[in-house]
Subunit: 340 residues, 2 copies
DNA sequence: CTGAAAGCGCTTACAG
DNA sequence: CTGAAAGCGCTTACAG
């Protein structure tokens, strides 16, 4: 390995001081073009590569942010991550990514390692069993601004879908179809779950439609989780008019398990879900789903964080933003008819 | 903001020297437990957070690697990225992610910013129009080891699917079905494309089956790209017995466009593709696809890079690894019957 | 086993 | 407009 070329080498070759060379690298206008050109030539000659980490140490900012999500096989998370990248990339940030796999311990470990690496800010889609106190302590101790995405805890900046609204739209749709009972399946305790349930109850119960949603109907956010939840539901002995999945991934398992038991989704039981990832429209029958617009969540969250970073994380109060959902009605509910 | 707590503060509080404190942070056994305990107490008291970037500057390694992929909406890329994370996380690395969107310029910009941030190594799924010389120059100047994933250029470490083999399996299957003509659609010039085409020709042409694959049948790796490619194919006036898509994403568009033109995939024309992401099995009819095992590609690529990093990037010759593919036969080809 | 000093590659006041 | 010096927070020889 050739020894590393430093700014000192460049400045010597160009016949100027280190400070002058430093100013040139950063494009300062205080340096006359003639001097700057000499420095740039020297950089090219020597094959200089800027060591931003060294600069960071001095400036105490890294132009780096951390993004922690559950995983990215779920297209909802993938689109959200890409949107974050889009915004932060344009702002000159490079992003550290970590996948918590919805394990709070792994999540904290990831955050710790990002903090050690001096991230300027953090965007987190929190694991359901996150301890908010612990999280607050961890980021506050380091003075790193944090915005939560998609799932919220009080006291943190947050951008997510307006789940109550989305669930209300869905509930009204099902009530209009004449549903008398709805089972809400899958997901783990998180604000998104609570909010969706709230919207469903609010829109269905006043219309005389029962909402079944108990702890035993929760599940991991996987197709298998959905299948298992349906099984537990059917083992209770009663079939609802409609099944609402926590999201599209869970719904896939619900379709599968229903068919294994000889029930056709959309005909025997209406089925709907949340997120409206590309999975939903691709199902057979196409799945009614509440679009959550992860691109908007990610983009808005990134902007919110950028704002805090720009303001030196001053006394901006906690920021909240809700993205408006949209109900996509497809045949998994539209073709269902109440049994007479 | 409270002023940052440094190792110096800790050492003073613990009544030892900075070097001793440093040794304790890194768990050196040279420090007696009694001293170490005092230091650790001081760290807790003061709320010390390790500044790994400062350490990096001194040690000239960052325990950071860069991963650059096209995007992650395609589950193939998502699974690959997660597999890389799995391996590198366990080895103590944190990963910078960048999405090239298959734009060579953006790719180089991303790599440059990662290099400035002192990544120890780079994993790249290269954009099709990458200039290999330029890439080599960029990473060699910085002395950063690089492994290519899924698409190769000569002279770089590489892990990818054995595309020739996979395409051969698929070609043999189609030949056995009695196909007399096959159109290969979608994708952009890349080793993966060339290799797939090679395998198809090798297995089909000797069996009297034509392979149509020209520049005008290429397309972006999107459903729209697939639709457009089918349109261009049909505009040529002849229908093949089978259409092979560059991958599952392209195949989605092929299904759509065929139906728009009144042709049923799997009945009127057999359809198959590559990658076998969860998209394939979820299609109607289920899509025959050559599984490329992105988890294995990602994991093996990460291991390869870790090896180079462990060996101080010594004179290990270029490393190559091919992952064995597997043909998943589904009804999009299995139910097709030659017209008599 | 522990401490004082130098140095990683930059930037930042401060002089001139 | 440009230079010499100090410092960001660590680690690394080197003494003792």
């Amino acid at each position: 390995m050739t020894p590393r070329i430093t700014l000192e080498d460049v400045s010597k070759a160009a016949g100027v001081s280190k400070s002058t060379a430093s100013l040139v690298v950063r494009g300062s206008s205080r340096i006359p073009e003639s001097t700057a050109a000499k420095v740039r030539d020297a950089m090219d000659q020597l094959g200089y590569v800027y060591n931003r980490s060294a600069a960071n140490l001095r400036q105490s900012r890294s132009m780096t942010i951390g993004l922690v999500v559950t995983e990215i096989i779920n297209p909802y998370f993938a689109e959200l991550a890409m949107a974050v990248d889009e915004i932060t990339h344009d702002a000159g940030y490079t992003i550290f990514i970590g996948y918590s796999r919805d394990l709070a311990d792994r999540q904290h470990e990831i955050i710790a390692s990002m903090i050690e690496r001096q991230v300027d800010g953090l965007l987190l889609l929190p694991a359901p069993d996150t301890d908010p106190q612990k999280l607050a302590k961890q980021v506050n101790a380091a003075g790193v601004p944090l915005a939560l995405l998609a799932r919220r805890f009080p006291g943190f900046d947050y951008v997510g879908s307006n789940n109550v609204k989305g669930a209300t739209l869905l509930g009204e749709h099902l009530a209009a179809l004449g549903c008398r009972s709805v089972a809400f399946l899958g997901g783990r305790s998180a604000s998104s779950l609570t909010e969706r349930e709230e919207g469903l109850r609010k829109s269905l119960e006043p219309n005389g439609c029962e909402v079944w949603s108990s702890d035993e109907l929760r599940s991991p956010i996987t197709p298998e989780g959905g299948s298992d939840a349906v099984s537990r539901l059917f083992d209770l002995g009663r079939l609802p008019d409609a099944i609402i999945a926590y999201n599209d991934i869970v719904a896939q398992g619900i379709y599968d398990e229903m068919r294994r038991r000889g029930l056709e989704p959309g005909r025997d039981i209406a089925v709907a879900s949340f997120d409206d990832t590309r999975i939903a429209a691709g199902q057979v029958p196409p799945l009614t789903s509440v679009a959550g617009f992860p691109q908007q969540v990610g983009a808005k969250g990134a902007e919110m964080l950028m704002t805090r970073l720009a303001d030196g994380n001053a006394d901006i109060p906690t920021q909240l933003a809700l993205i408006q959902p949209q109900l996509k009605i497809r045949s998994s509910t539209a073709t269902w008819r109440t049994r007479t």
